[in-house]
């Protein structure tokens, strides 16, 4: 089950500034099933890396490991060439994670939700927030409570963060679910732009992404 990717480098932690996140010899088992072992890969600036694999092959688990939300694994993670354990604050400042549960409170409005999640990282003005919401097609819904939004609209509230984010690394777990055709195009566009600006994206999805220069890591 040893896996390497297009982006793999078996050498010691990269000195290369462009390499943001590097994973070395990851091993994870859950409930006595080995999900992956000897997994090596790295994510560099300008890269969009899609993690693929059948249901239950460990994509979500891998993303949560990388973010530090799941710590039951063996192997080492490096952030910009240094051991992740010592870089936690720097890493978290440069990270934007949207998981399966997107972090949208049902009682608050899209505007209030976005304001809080953004303020955890940096100051943003209300105009910026409003234009980000308009950017994901939620104009007119800024002040509805989120429980009155459709599934896709809630997903869009979370994705509005991408328009405001100054994080370098985006980690997105199945961000395309429940998005309509326009939404998919919009998001693909955002990912591409982020990479072009020198950011990096780690994304799982079963879609075939239309992104030039996309790299794929297949699990399972």
């Amino acid at each position: 089950m040893d896996q390497t990717t297009s982006a793999t480098s078996k050498q010691s932690p990269a000195q290369n500034q462009a390499v943001l996140l590097q994973a070395s010899e990851l091993f994870c088992e859950r409930d006595d099933r080995v999900l992956f072992s000897g997994l090596n890969f790295s994510v560099s600036r300008g890269q969009v890396l899609q993690i693929k694999g059948g249901n239950g092959t460990g994509k979500t688990t891998l993303l949560r490991m990388l973010c530090g939300l799941n710590q039951d694994f063996e192997g080492t993670l490096y952030w910009q060439g240094q051991d992740m354990a010592e870089q936690e604050e720097a890493f978290h400042s440069a990270l934007l994670y949207i998981g399966h549960r997107v972090g949208v409170n049902k009682v608050l409005t899209p505007l209030e939700n976005l304001r809080w999640t953004c303020r955890l990282q940096r100051e943003v003005s209300d105009e910026q927030l409003m234009s980000a919401l308009a950017g994901v097609g939620l104009r007119g819904f800024e002040d509805s409570q989120c429980h009155a939004l459709s599934a896709g609209q809630q997903q869009r509230v979370a994705l509005a963060r991408l328009l405001l984010s100054q994080a370098t690394l985006w980690v997105l777990d199945e961000p395309f679910t429940t998005l309509d055709v326009d939404g998919v195009a919009l998001l693909e566009n955002l990912l591409q732009q982020h990479a072009a600006r020198g950011g990096a994206v780690l994304v799982t999805t079963h879609h075939n992404l239309q992104i030039p220069g996309l790299e794929v890591l297949t699990l399972g």
């Binding site: 978290h92 972090g103 940096r122």
Partner: protein
Amino acid sequence: MANAHTSTFSAFKATLKRDLLIAYKRKNDVVNPFMFFLIVASLFPIGVSPEPERLSLIAAGVLWISALLAALLAMDNLYRADYEDGSLEQLLLSPHPLFFMVLAKNIAHWLVSGLPVVLVSPLIAYMLSLPDGSYHVLFLSLLLGTPVFSLLGSIGVALTVGLGSRGLILAMITLPMSVPVLIAGTLAVQQTQNGASLLGFLAIMGAMLLFALTLAPLASAAALRISVN
């Protein structure tokens, strides 16, 4: 890419504001704890005895126990919704120390659920025929004691937030831990009726509060990290 970070303090403020806003929107988060307090306290005249003399003997204890149970029931709201919608993950991944974020949430929670109970307590004490000289003692001791309930409860909720049926486990962890505060509080009310000095009791309860204030958020933060795993 330059990262213009917020200071920890403004993240703290943002979290505090957000939680107060959610409580305001839900409305009943504010109304409920003291309604529950009222209802539970009024079960006693019904269930035990409506005679003022007998009531006045048990009034202090009943008030404290009702306040404790009200705090317990209100705990449910603290991290649950955030866990379920993923906001908790966002909180854990914020670049600021989790201690302060947890503290902000605890403070918001007490303001919403604990403070109203403290404010309404003299009224209910009157209904339960609490002896005359004890009102200020009850009020002050609840003011110092209920935040401790919130802080301790927060550890319990943080440990159980991922579970299907938390309500009761939470109670089993939190109630025994809250006993010292309960004892100090009821003793304060009863003993000052017998002429003991109020200051000593308040000092003890203040110490408990300080202790909880510095350590409990640490434990809650650690527990949250474990639960979100």
